[in-house]
C-alpha cells in the first residue's frame, strides 16, 4: 500500500543503486530530515536542548561504534575513551587559538591514531579478548586524563569550552549548536549508509563474518581491521568534540567514564548492530526512555495516584526500563531496527503475507 512497488521501473544502474530506490523510503527520509531541519521552529528550547540535541549527538557516536561493532565485527568496550580523546583534543586546540573547524579534524585524527594503537590488539585477539583489550583502553585513558593535570585542567578537573565560531557563525545560541550537531549527524549517516556499498564496506563485512575466510578470498585483514578502527575512532572523536562543544559546553572526566561506554554499547545493541536507523532508535531508547519514565512516575506520584517513598519513586522507572529492555529483546533479539525492518517488509508485500528474507 504505502510501498507500492508496481510501476517503479529502474532503467539506469544509478537508479537501482541509489540509497533509497523505493519512493516511499525517500518520502520518509525526506519528511524526517525536514522535521529535524525545522526543529528549532516548532520545538521549545526545553525539548530541543534536553532531548533532541543529546539524542542526535549520541546517535552519531552510536553510529561510529556500530561501524566497528556491527559492520566490522570488532567489539569495542572503550568507546567513551575515544570520545574523551576527541573532546579534550578539540578543547585544548581551540584554547590554543586553532579554529574549531580544524580543531574538530584534529580531534578526529588524534582519536583515530590512539584508537588504532589499541585497535592493533584486534589483529591478535577476537571476541571477548578484544573486549578486554579495549576495556584497558577505557581505563588507561580515564587514568591519564584524571592524573595529568595539563589535560584535565587542574584540581577542579573541569574545562569550559571557549566561545568559538564555526564557519563564521558564533556557537553561542542553542540554534547554532543544534545545526552544527545536525550537520554532523547528516555527514555521519551518509557516510555509514554509503560505506556499506563500497568495496571497503564489503571487505569489513567479510572480515566480520569470518576473518580467515576473508583472507583466503584476498582481503587484507591487517589493513581492514586497522582501517575499521581508524574510521570508527575518527568519527567517535569528532562526535566527542561535538558533544563537548554543542551539548555540555564543558568537559570533565566523568562525562566519558566507563558507564558511558556501557551506554553506547547498549545503544548499539538495543538498536540493532550495523543498522543506521537502529543507531537512532537505540540511542533514543537508552538516553530518553529513562527520563520519560521518570517524569511519568513523578507525575503519577505527584497527582497522588500512587503513594510511595521518594526512593522507591526513583527506582520504579529503572524497574520498568529493565523490563522494557528484556521485553524488546525477547520480542526481537536483533534489536529495534529489526522490528522496523519487519514492519517495512510486511508493508512491502501487503496485502500478501509472503515476506521471505
Amino acid at each position: 500500500m504505502f510501498y507500492r512497488l508496481s510501476g517503479v521501473y529502474h532503467t539506469r544502474y544509478s537508479q537501482t543503486r541509489q540509497l533509497w530506490p523505493i519512493p516511499a523510503d525517500r518520502w520518509q527520509v525526506g519528511i524526517l530530515f525536514a522535521l529535524a531541519l525545522l526543529a528549532p521552529l516548532y520545538m521549545s528550547n526545553l525539548y530541543l536542548s534536553s532531548y533532541m540535541l543529546p539524542w542526535l549527538i549520541f546517535s552519531t557516536a552510536t553510529l561510529a561504534l556500530t561501524l566497528l561493532m556491527g559492520l566490522a565485527g570488532q567489539l569495542h568496550f572503550g568507546f567513551a575513551a575515544v570520545m574523551a580523546i576527541g573532546a579534550y583534543t578539540s578543547i585544548h586546540l581551540t584554547r590554543a587559538g586553532v579554529p574549531l573547524e580544524i580543531a574538530l579534524l584534529g580531534s578526529g585524527l588524534m582519536s583515530a591514531v590512539i584508537g588504532c594503537v589499541f585497535g592493533a590488539a584486534a589483529l591478535r585477539v577476537k571476541g571477548l579478548y578484544l573486549v578486554m583489550a579495549t576495556l584497558a583502553m577505557q581505563f588507561l585513558v580515564d587514568w591519564v586524563i584524571t592524573n595529568v593535570t595539563v589535560i584535565s585542567g587542574g584540581a577542579t578537573a573541569t574545562l569550559q569550552t571557549p566561545s568559538v565560531r564555526f564557519l563564521f557563525i558564533p556557537l553561542q545560541s542553542l540554534t547554532a549548536r543544534y545545526y552544527l550537531a545536525l550537520a554532523w549527524t547528516v555527514i555521519v549517516v551518509l557516510f555509514i549508509l554509503n560505506i556499506k556499498r563500497t568495496s571497503f564496506g564489503r571487505a569489513l563485512v567479510a572480515v566480520r563474518d569470518k576473518d580467515f575466510a576473508a583472507a583466503v578470498i584476498g582481503v587484507n585483514i591487517f589493513k581492514y581491521k586497522l582501517l575499521a578502527f581508524f574510521a570508527s575512532s575518527f568519527l567517535g572523536g569528532i562526535s566527542g568534540a561535538i558533544l563537548a562543544f554543542c551539548f555540555y559546553k564543558a568537559v570533565t572526566p566523568s562525562q566519558f567514564n566507563f558507564d558511558v561506554t556501557i551506554q553506547l554499547v547498549a545503544m548499539a545493541l538495543v538498536g540493532g548492530l550495523g543498522s543506521v536507523i537502529g543507531g537512532f532508535l537505540g540511542t533514543g531508547f537508552v538516553l530518553l526512555i529513562p527520563i520519560v519514565l521518570l517524569n511519568l512516575i513523578s507525575w503519577i506520584v505527584g497527582n497522588g495516584w500512587l503513594n510511595v517513598s521518594t526512593s522507591l519513586m526513583a527506582h520504579i522507572p529503572m524497574m520498568l526500563y529493565g523490563a522494557m529492555i528484556i521485553g524488546f529483546l525477547l520480542f526481537e533479539p536483533l534489536g529495534l531496527a529489526k522490528i522496523y525492518d519487519n514492519a517495512r517488509k510486511y508493508l512491502l508485500v501487503w496485502p500478501f503475507r509472503h515476506t521471505q528474507s
Binding site: 587542574g154 564543558a250 566523568s254 497527582n303 521518594t310
Partner: protein, 421 residues
C-alpha cells in the same frame, strides 16, 4: 471577579493540591499564594545512593516543617524531587525541565552533575547550592556568582583536620601523615593544601591513592603499613570509607589515628563490631542528633505527627541533618532576599539573600555562616567529632583553619582559569 482572577485561583488550588499530595503544604495553602519551587535533583539510584535517601528525607521533612510554620511569608515551598542518577546529560535535561516549570533554586548533590550545571546556572542566573561537594573554585563568588557551597569546601575540611592534629594531638612538626584517598578529582582536591601546610608546618606528607570506586584497597593499606605513619587522613565517600577503615584496622593502625572527610556516617561505623573503631575522627559541618531546635521541631510536628518522609530511625543522622541544613540555608536566603527587595521570591533575590547571610546558624544546627559576594564558602567553619561507639561526639568547637592558604589556592585557580580563556 473577572476571568483572570478565577483562572489564577484555580491554578493556585491545583498547584497547592499538587504540593499537598507531595505532603509539602498543609495549612498554608488556605492563604492562597503560589508555591515557591525548589528543585532538588539528586542521585537516588547510582553513585550517591549511600546518602541520598537520608539527605532527601531531611530536606523534605524540613520543607514540611517550614510550610507548617507558615512557609516563606505565607508562600509554601514545593520541592521538585527527581533522580538524575549522576548522569550529566540527564541532570541537564531535568534542570531544563525544572527551569521551565519555574523552579527558583537548585540542588544536585552529585559532583559530575553539579560540575556540568554550574556554568549553566550562572548563565541562567539561577542560584544553586553545592553543599560540601562540587568544584573547589565554586567558593569563589567572583568566578561563579550563582553557586553557593555554603559550607567548608574540601580543602577547608582538610585544613580543619590538620589544625586539630596541630593543636590537640601534639603538633604537626616532624609527624608522618598519610593521605589515603580515592583516585578521582574529589580525592585529589585537598592535596595542594596539604602540601602547602606540610611545608610551613614541617610534617612529612605521603599520598596513597586507591582506584575508583574504592571497594578494593588492600594493596594500598599494606603499603601504608610499611611506612608506619603517625596519623592517617582518609578521603573517600560511600562504601569506600568503610573499606578504608577496615583496611586500616586490619593493618594494625589505631582508630584514634584515623581522620576522615565529612562523608562518614553512623551507618558506615555501625557496621563494625564493638569497640573496634571507637576513636575515629571526622570533620563535622552540621550538628548530628535531634537536639538542635529545628530537628527537635521536625520530630515533634512532622515525624511524630506521622508525616515524616522516610524511616524514623534516620532522623537526626549525619546526612539527614545535612539535608535539613541545605534547605534551612536556602529558605533563609530566600526570606532575606525577598524581605530586602520586597515582592515575590525570584532567583535573583535568593542570590542576593545568600550574600546577606551573616552569622546564620539555623538555630544552632550549623556553625555561623557568613556569605559575601566574594566568599561563597561562608567562612569554612566546622568541627572535629569522634565516634564513641554510638554516635559522633564533638571534640572541638566550631572553628576554621588555614583559610589564608585555602583562599590563596582559590585565587590561583581563578588566575589560571583566566589565563586559559
Amino acid at each position: 471577579m473577572n476571568h483572570t482572577d478565577l483562572a489564577l485561583s484555580r491554578r493556585t488550588v491545583l498547584g497547592a493540591a499538587a504540593a499537598a499530595s507531595l505532603g509539602a503544604a498543609l495549612p498554608v495553602w488556605a492563604q492562597g499564594k503560589d508555591p515557591i519551587q525548589f528543585a532538588t535533583l539528586l542521585d537516588f539510584t547510582r553513585v550517591y545512593t549511600f546518602l541520598t535517601d537520608e539527605y532527601s528525607q531531611g530536606q523534605q521533612d524540613y520543607i514540611k516543617l517550614l510550610n507548617l510554620e507558615g512557609g516563606l511569608d505565607g508562600s509554601p515551598i514545593k520541592l521538585i524531587v527527581k533522580d538524575h542518577a549522576s548522569y550529566p546529560e540527564r541532570g541537564i535535561a531535568l534542570y531544563n525541565e525544572a527551569k521551565a516549570a519555574g523552579a527558583v533554586f537548585f540542588d544536585f548533590l552529585s559532583s559530575p552533575v553539579a560540575n556540568a550545571l554550574m556554568p549553566r546556572a550562572d548563565e541562567d542566573h539561577l542560584p544553586m547550592i553545592a553543599f560540601a561537594h562540587g568544584r573547589a573554585d565554586a567558593a569563589d563568588g567572583q568566578a561563579f556568582p550563582y553557586v553557593f557551597p555554603s559550607a567548608a569546601i574540601y580543602r577547608s575540611q582538610a585544613a580543619l583536620l590538620l589544625k586539630y592534629i596541630d593543636e590537640k594531638e601534639g603538633g604537626l612538626k616532624g609527624k608522618k601523615i598519610a593521605f589515603v584517598h580515592i583516585d578521582s578529582a574529589f580525592g585529589k582536591e585537598p592535596i595542594e593544601l596539604l602540601e602547602r601546610v606540610a611545608k610551613t608546618k614541617g610534617f612529612e606528607l605521603k599520598l596513597y591513592p586507591y582506584p575508583v570506586p574504592g571497594t578494593e584497597q588492600a594493596a594500598t593499606w599494606s603499603e601504608v603499613r610499611k611506612n608506619r605513619p603517625d596519623k592517617i587522613i582518609i578521603w573517600g565517600a560511600g562504601p569506600g570509607q568503610a573499606v578504608s577503615i577496615r583496611g586500616a584496622v586490619t593493618n594494625g593502625i589505631a582508630p584514634k589515628n584515623i581522620y576522615s572527610v565529612i562523608w562518614l556516617s553512623e551507618a558506615d561505623m555501625s557496621a563494625f563490631k564493638g569497640n573496634e573503631v571507637v576513636g575515629v575522627k571526622r570533620v563535622t559541618l552540621v550538628n548530628t542528633g535531634t537536639e538542635t531546635p529545628i530537628v527537635k521541631r521536625i520530630v515533634e510536628k512532622v515525624v511524630n505527627a506521622g508525616n515524616g518522609s522516610g524511616d524514623k530511625k534516620r532522623v537526626g543522622g549525619t546526612y539527614y541533618n545535612i539535608g535539613v541544613a541545605t534547605m534551612a540555608i536556602a529558605a533563609q536566603a530566600a526570606k532575606l532576599g525577598a524581605q530586602k527587595a520586597g515582592g515575590p521570591v525570584t532567583p535573583e533575590k535568593i542570590k542576593q539573600g545568600f550574600e546577606m547571610l551573616k552569622d546564620f546558624t539555623a538555630e544552632g544546627l550549623i556553625p555561623p555562616l557568613t556569605i559575601t559576594a566574594q566568599d561563597h564558602q561562608g567562612g569554612g567553619m566546622g568541627m572535629i567529632s569522634e565516634w564513641d561507639g554510638k554516635q559522633w561526639a564533638p571534640k572541638s568547637d566550631w572553628g576554621s583553619a588555614y583559610q589564608d592558604v585555602v583562599w590563596d589556592l582559590i585565587k590561583e585557580d581563578r588566575a589560571k582559569a583566566k589565563e586559559k580563556k
